[in-house]
Symmetry: C2
Subunit: 389 residues, 2 copies
């Protein structure tokens, strides 16, 4: 690992919020990279993009990847170049960064409710094809008024709760009524229905996961039928995720796949069973950390804690470090414990960590080191980092 | 809450990474603020600063607040203006931002081990009085070499592990040997010993917390005696925290207090008992969130999830919302559940949340709205947000 060559780090250094990181010279090996650092293997990213696109295409589905995983316009552009019809964003401010980055077809997957935000959304719709999830008549009318003020038409995905108990309408008739209200607003365009269940993604057993996907499909069909009964045409249904995609494409209920995590993968997705036996997507994102203390024969302390690695899905795993058990040591420290002192890495060495949850880990970093052919090719900007508005 | 006036938000808007937030007009009330947003009550911050400074001064201790809590040079300057001798930073990149922000006396509380970082530290020492914690001879020698290369003298705090089982030397004689090695390096300056135990801070019971502080003091005295036996003069001992400060000042083992969280407080510190009955510091930081969905009579969904509020110390608490139970709903959502539908806030309303852990929550945001006299006075820059290197 230490001898992996690093080339041309300076090219994109201006993207980084702390150019001083690079001020003392050009790193020539990964061991010379200032840590903690996110590493993104773009070859693996592209292989993952191809694999998910092939799955969608083979079954006649559109792919609209969720970019809340990478928060990077560069990766979103790779996804669209490979065949995605556009992207999903979680928040309006994320969509604003993506439009700046050249993306022109975006669905915002959470309701946008505040009037100040609805006006900003309408303003953004003058620059890109935009749609947004809604689950309440008040939100529909607010968006229609904002779209009218900016002279644009805003796309709408009416949102169905298919079991996550978060946002979305549960009752099929209520969903159909909401869709009919959208159709009556000339400033809005009914693009489809959103039906996503995040809790299905991490069901470990494949049969149980498939059964959960089928239960989602049943709910979708009931809502579709309620819309048809009212004469409301639903152009498409959007949903699914990385863990459920193999079954989403077979269940026949959705037309557009919203998966996101497949682009990088993480510990959560390494922890579930896959119908293929192994995950069809490879780990593309790791965190490079340095051993800054070896205070006992069986302990190595890393420079990476809660401010570097998210904890919502549990601790990371140290790769290439046999016998290591990771525990968080606070904001800025991670502790590796060993039973065998011979396995403890030396002071100053670097280790790679696999985050448990890629989305929230990426969101802690302004940039990543992009690898091509095992070498660092450039600094990849995470332009939508922190865009929670 | 909705009617709280907001003034002069534009003044410092350039500090924010997404100026589009403010593009659609000047907010005039908190309800018009784009959420999620951090709110920092600077009046409460100053009261907290005065209270901790008074405690330290009254007992003859120096106060060197840890700024990893606020990551803001503006707040660090308020602390120094009130009497602090300087500040603590967790990482070198944090210290670099603080020097840019006008702070000139900084202790970095974690070992700086990588050669590329030791050179950067030495470069920074040409611009400010700098010291750093060390716990290994190799680190001492590396820092001496880097300091020599830059023609500066770098201060050293030899670090004693007083029970946290993270960084630091455990054995008093080994600590004394390390201190003697520092004294032999003409490029280094032995500033003192660091002895901090984070796990003591959150012991709920005051008697048990006091006993834990006394145990720390015993370890400190043993290390001090070992240094004296070798003829090594330790100018001071630095340690303590917000939860232990009341007992740190009485135990007589430390000369310099490193507390940080008191400046804003959080749910963790609201959860422990205090010798005064109530915490001597008030809550100064909250998160403003909007209800973006009310899909059932007993559920309100907020626009704030793991990317807005840290989870390492548990979920936040909704303030001024009787009967609300918060659960995280993923990266971008928080869910409030109610038993009584009459208590559920309406769609579009804003609520304030108290984070469980202030340090890691602040680190998710580029700026905060600073309140003075209950009104928003300006946008406060969190300049060291993301500075984990």
């Amino acid at each position: 690992l230490e001898d992996l060559p690093v080339v041309s780090l300076a090219a994109d250094a201006a993207h980084d919020c702390h150019p001083a990181d690079l001020a003392t010279g050009q790193p020539t090996t990964l061991a010379a990279v200032d840590t903690p650092a996110l590493l993104i293997d773009l070859d693996q990213v592209e292989a993952n993009i191809q694999a998910m696109q092939a799955l969608a295409t083979q079954h006649g589905l559109r792919l609209r990847p969720h970019v809340k995983t990478s928060k990077s316009a560069e990766i979103a552009r790779l996804q669209c170049a490979a065949g995605a019809v556009g992207i999903c964003c979680a928040k309006l401010s994320e969509a604003e960064v993506m439009v700046e980055g050249g993306l022109d077809d975006i669905v915002i997957t959470s309701p946008v409710v505040a009037p100040v935000k609805q006006r900003r959304l309408a303003a953004l719709a003058t620059r890109a094809r935009l749609a947004v999830a809604v689950d309440h008549p008040q939100t529909v009318l607010g968006l229609a008024a904002a779209a009218g003020a900016f002279g644009v038409r805003v796309g709408i995905y009416v949102e169905l709760d298919v079991g996550q108990a978060r946002t979305g309408v549960s009752d099929p008739d209520e969903l159909a009524e909401l869709a009919a209200l959208v159709v009556r607003q000339p400033q809005l365009r009914l693009d489809g229905m959103q039906a996503y269940n995040g809790s299905v993604q991490f069901i470990v057993d494949t049969d149980a996961r498939r059964a959960a996907v089928d239960a989602v499909a049943t709910r979708i069909r009931a809502a579709r039928a309620a819309c048809a009964a009212r004469g409301v045409l639903l152009p498409l249904v959007s949903g699914g995720g990385t863990g459920s995609a193999d079954f989403d494409v077979l269940a026949g209920a959705i037309d557009e796949l919203q998966a996101g995590s497949y682009v990088c993968m993480d510990g959560q997705y390494a922890g579930i069973d896959w119908p293929q036996g192994v995950p069809p997507f490879g780990l593309a994102l790791t965190v490079l950390a340095t051993v800054i203390s070896t205070p006992t024969p069986t302990r190595a302390v890393l420079d990476s804690g809660w401010k570097t690695l998210s904890v919502d899905a549990g601790p990371p795993v140290a790769l290439d470090v046999p016998g290591a058990r990771f525990r968080f040591g606070g904001d800025e420290h991670g502790v590796l414990e060993f039973d065998d002192p011979a396995l403890r890495p030396p002071l100053g060495s670097v280790v790679r960590l696999r985050p448990a949850h890629v989305d929230t880990t990426v969101n802690l970093h302004d940039s990543a080191l992009a690898l091509r052919g095992g070498r660092v090719s450039h600094r990849l900007r995470i332009g939508a980092r922190g865009c929670v508005r």
